[in-house]
Symmetry: C2
């Protein structure tokens, strides 16, 4: 369902609760008997309760999502950052099952890292850990929405791929991808670039190579600092993991210490349900 | 005491144990009553027992330091990576006391990070977490001893400072620092560079600015990924923290997300005793 956050947090949360009750009816579960509610939300979530900064919704800083949801539902509520819940879902039920040290990296319009260290989610001092998309990889690079310059996210996200491909198309005006999109360049999607990569279009290859090299650089940073046992790519862009993973492996030896370059890199098992299952895992 | 590791691990460990017994006599402690022995060692330490890779001593891979020390001493032994013990020492008894999320960064001939997240040391899958010195910050940079190119350590270490200063001295042949070292450039030490920085020598300023900018870049990476509450600089180079910290603060806004740039950055309280106290904390 749509968040419709402009109607206010109480309205959104009440609609979520109504939807939960509706689903309980369908599943023949008595809503009163729910053990609790796990809630995923973007932004820095502190102490599984408070959204510190209003980065995505205009519900104010230090928004106590746990308290509001508990008032509305009369159930125990735990709140966590959405990316961390994806990581938790994969660790309990998916591709990271059995690993105490795993990093799950959703790549969509943005990129972030859900980090599990010693079996626990890494949240940071005020819940802002995992902002992997905003490590600076090119000091002379693109401006990022976060106000930094040359962030990983400006290359390693669907937005970044589209931006880079458009730039190359406009500069070079050649190839199959150019022919297909020259009259409607704004309809170009990241998945199109991977499609034309498979058709050996030169500009698509350049775009995907650049994406993969920067992703390898970012993974090298995570590997050297955190020494995970496994890295799991998730999100829309990970649907092209058959292309991405071999390319990342090609570039990784330039960025990760030799002892770590054989690290398994794989793809989400739970896909779109990882976050929901992670939210359930918070309560379980 | 000297490690004299070429005599073999058993010889080194026995000499350590003899030294412990000697110190017990001086302190009028009965060695039999020791609760246990905490041992710090460089390299990736797995499960507080095994040194996975023989990076610093030629005692072989998968060297079970815990087992050997327990056999020699008949006491309970816990082993940990030396940098992580420095972090643990600072957290229990020093500048990181009271913080659940702290990063301690010893800067000497190398640079690494001892990471505490949610009150626990971050060790990684096989004990290799914290290799912060080997994140690549300049793809066209210097070759590093680790076989990567442009590692943070090639700039942000006493070795890096000396290398950079020598290069500038040889290229420019000017200034107070040049006059002092032109005939014995190999005696130049990192502390000299900070000394001439204070005397406003241009080449010393350039060297220290470059060091500080790369350190800010590295800290930005740690901050964005881990959201620590405090960063503590340690090791020999941190003796010039009065110069380094303001410069790092100047550059940090280019690399750390806005919500984090006010993070406290301070200097070790325990100095050379941090590692020893961290080793004790392992047992306590």
């Amino acid at each position: 369902m749509k968040t419709e956050s402009y109607k206010g947090s109480e309205d959104t949360f009440k609609r979520i609760w109504n939807k939960i009750k509706e689903l309980c009816l369908i599943k023949e579960i008595c809503a009163d008997e729910l053990e609790g509610i796990g809630l995923g939300i973007p932004g820095p979530v502190y102490n599984q309760s408070i959204v510190k900064i209003a980065a995505n919704f205009s519900w104010g800083n230090d928004f106590n999502a746990k308290k509001l949801m508990e008032e509305i539902t009369k159930h125990k509520v735990k709140v966590e950052n959405d990316v961390r819940l994806i990581a938790l879902g994969e660790q309990r039920f998916g591709a990271a099952k059995g690993y105490e040290n795993a990093i799950v990296i959703p790549i969509g319009t943005g990129i972030a890292a859900g980090i599990i260290s010693g079996g626990k989610l890494v949240s940071g001092g005020f819940g802002a850990a995992g902002e992997f998309g905003h490590i600076v990889v090119n000091k002379e690079g693109y401006n990022c929405g976060c106000k930094l310059k040359g962030c990983l996210e400006t290359y390693c996200s669907s937005k970044g791929i589209i931006q880079e491909a458009k730039k190359l198309l406009e500069e070079n005006k050649t190839g199959k991808m150019y022919e297909a999109f020259k009259d409607n360049i704004n309809s170009l999607d990241a998945s199109d670039v991977f499609k034309y990569y498979k058709q050996e279009d030169k500009l698509a290859i350049q775009t995907v190579e650049k994406f993969s090299k920067y992703l390898a650089e970012g993974l090298g940073v995570l590997i050297n600092i955190l020494n995970p046992e496994i890295i799991i790519l998730a999100g829309g862009v990970a649907k092209s993991s058959d292309i991405i993973i071999p390319l990342v492996r090609k570039y990784l030896p330039q960025y990760a210490l030799g002892i770590s370059i054989d690290i398994p890199i794989t793809v989400s098992e739970l896909l779109d349900s990882a976050g929901v299952k992670g939210a359930a895992a918070l309560i379980i």
